[in-house]
């Protein structure tokens, strides 16, 4: 064998997990079976990421892993070791501010109870970054990975279109 086999992280033991969370170093300990959303919420205290179905369907737990939207409930914390994680806490530039996308959600009633919102924001944030000129079809396609029980989606689409527009037009205070 070319290299020595990498260590087996024993079941039932906690192991160090380190990654970048919203641009800052973060770390803690996790059993191999711990899901990323539980690690974020319970170990790191970052409760912005919500949890619904825990099997990949609802989208509430969506975070960005190395820049791409992904289900935290389908990711083990140990798999995320060394990755770059972004969560809803990282969207705004300061605690008392909103990002352009968040501001558009507020202005267009893109949320009611807010349970689905952090996940939807992380998916749309990635979409708007990758495709600044995206239209309604792409926004709806991205939203197909999320369930919202309150809004009926139309206000969410409106908010996303408004955010795309705001991000394209040079900013003025």
């Amino acid at each position: 064998m070319s290299r020595q086999a990498p260590a087996v992280l024993d079941a039932g033991q906690r192991h160090p997990v380190r990654f970048t969370l919203n641009g800052r170093k973060a770390g803690g300990e996790a059993e191999p079976r711990m899901l990323l959303h539980d690690f974020l919420r319970h170990v790191l205290g970052a409760t912005g990421t919500h949890v619904g179905c825990e099997h990949g369907i609802c989208g509430a737990c969506t975070v960005q892993i190395d820049g791409a939207p992904a289900r935290a409930c389908l990711t083990l914390a140990v798999q995320a070791d060394g990755a770059e994680i972004r969560t809803v806490e990282g969207l705004a530039s300061a605690p008392d501010r909103l990002s352009a996308l968040q501001e558009a959600f507020r202005a267009h009633h893109g949320l009611q109870c807010g349970f689905c919102t952090p996940g939807i924001l992380m998916s749309l944030d990635a979409l708007l970054r990758e495709r600044p000129d995206c239209g309604e079809a792409e926004i709806r396609e991205t939203l197909s990975g999320h369930l919202c029980r309150c809004t009926g989606y139309t206000p969410i689409v409106k908010a996303a279109l408004a955010a795309a527009e705001a991000l394209r037009v040079p900013h003025h205070a």
Partner: protein, 281 residues
């Protein structure tokens, strides 16, 4: 829902993966994108003793194109293949099917080979592999072998893969001049698993239609291009032995095979003509 306990190993080389699978006597499982495995762990439908993470093995993360075949390594994520600039040019059927596979949020993690390993009867990639006469490249410490798609998929979520075998890659023929392709999926919402999915390949020699979501594995037939087409589709529809389930009745599925099947083979023929025209100019 939380998984039961398991150990975890992040493999750095293919040998590490094969060694772990070899030593565990069936207790170890590969984890790739985790998009099918982790739901099963969370629901405790799967209780492996060890998960071997293959996503940090550099040798598995390539798409190789030797001109005749595209070979997609076990570490290639669905979204990466979808976003590659030349996927549509090199194998149009892959590019047509990938946007139907779940959602961007699952394609960003899920792998091409993981979908083949999982072998869901409604899954798009097993269907495409079957339609294209693709191959599954298996490797264990004992041997390396390649199986044609139709020999690999043996039942509903059952494959010819032995417990100590890794799917190292899958390969499909690259686009060939004079060949047309078409894909279509019927599902309740975009991103849902297919009620029925169709992939057709038309070249100067034959017209081949593969159907997923109806039988226990994707099935392919060579169909006539003349008046015999409707009869052949009807026979195909009955041969698939569709069953009633929550999503659709067997009768509805047979009707989809006859009607949508017809549309998809005609679309493949039109695609062939369009490509021939483009090649000529």
């Amino acid at each position: 829902m939380k998984p039961a306990r398991f150990a975890y190993q992040r493999a750095a080389t293919t040998e590490h993966v094969l060694e772990a699978l070899h030593r565990s006597g069936g207790e170890a499982r590969v984890i790739a994108g985790g998009q099918s495995l982790v739901p099963m762990l969370n629901m405790r439908l799967a209780r492996p003793a060890l998960l071997v993470d293959i996503m940090h093995v550099a040798a598995l993360s390539h798409v190789d194109d030797d001109g005749a075949r595209l070979t997609i390594g076990a570490g290639v994520r669905q979204r990466d293949l979808e976003m590659r600039h030349d996927t549509a040019a090199r194998q149009p059927l892959l590019a047509m099917a990938l946007p139907w596979l779940g959602h961007v949020q699952t394609r960003s993690r899920g792998t091409v080979c993981g979908s083949i390993a999982h072998a869901d009867p409604s899954a798009e990639l097993p269907l495409v592999l079957t339609a294209l006469r693709g191959e599954v490249h298996l490797r264990s410490r004992r041997r390396a072998r390649r199986l044609p798609a139709e020999a690999f998929f043996t039942g509903m979520m059952v494959t010819a893969r032995a417990e100590d075998e890794l799917i190292e890659a899958v390969s499909v023929p690259a686009v060939r001049p004079g060949t047309g392709y078409a894909f279509r999926e019927i599902s309740r919402r975009h991103g849902d698993f297919a009620i029925a999915a169709f992939a057709a390949v038309a070249d100067e020699k034959e017209l081949r239609l593969a159907i997923g979501g109806v039988a226990e594995t994707p099935k392919a037939r060579v169909l006539p291009t003349d008046q015999g087409l409707d009869d052949a589709l009807d026979t195909f529809a009955w041969n698939l032995e569709a069953r009633d389930d929550l999503h659709a009745s067997a009768r509805y599925r047979r009707e989809l095979v006859r009607r949508i099947g017809r549309e998809v083979v005609l679309a493949a023929i039109r695609d062939r003509e369009a490509r021939a025209l483009k090649e000529a100019t």
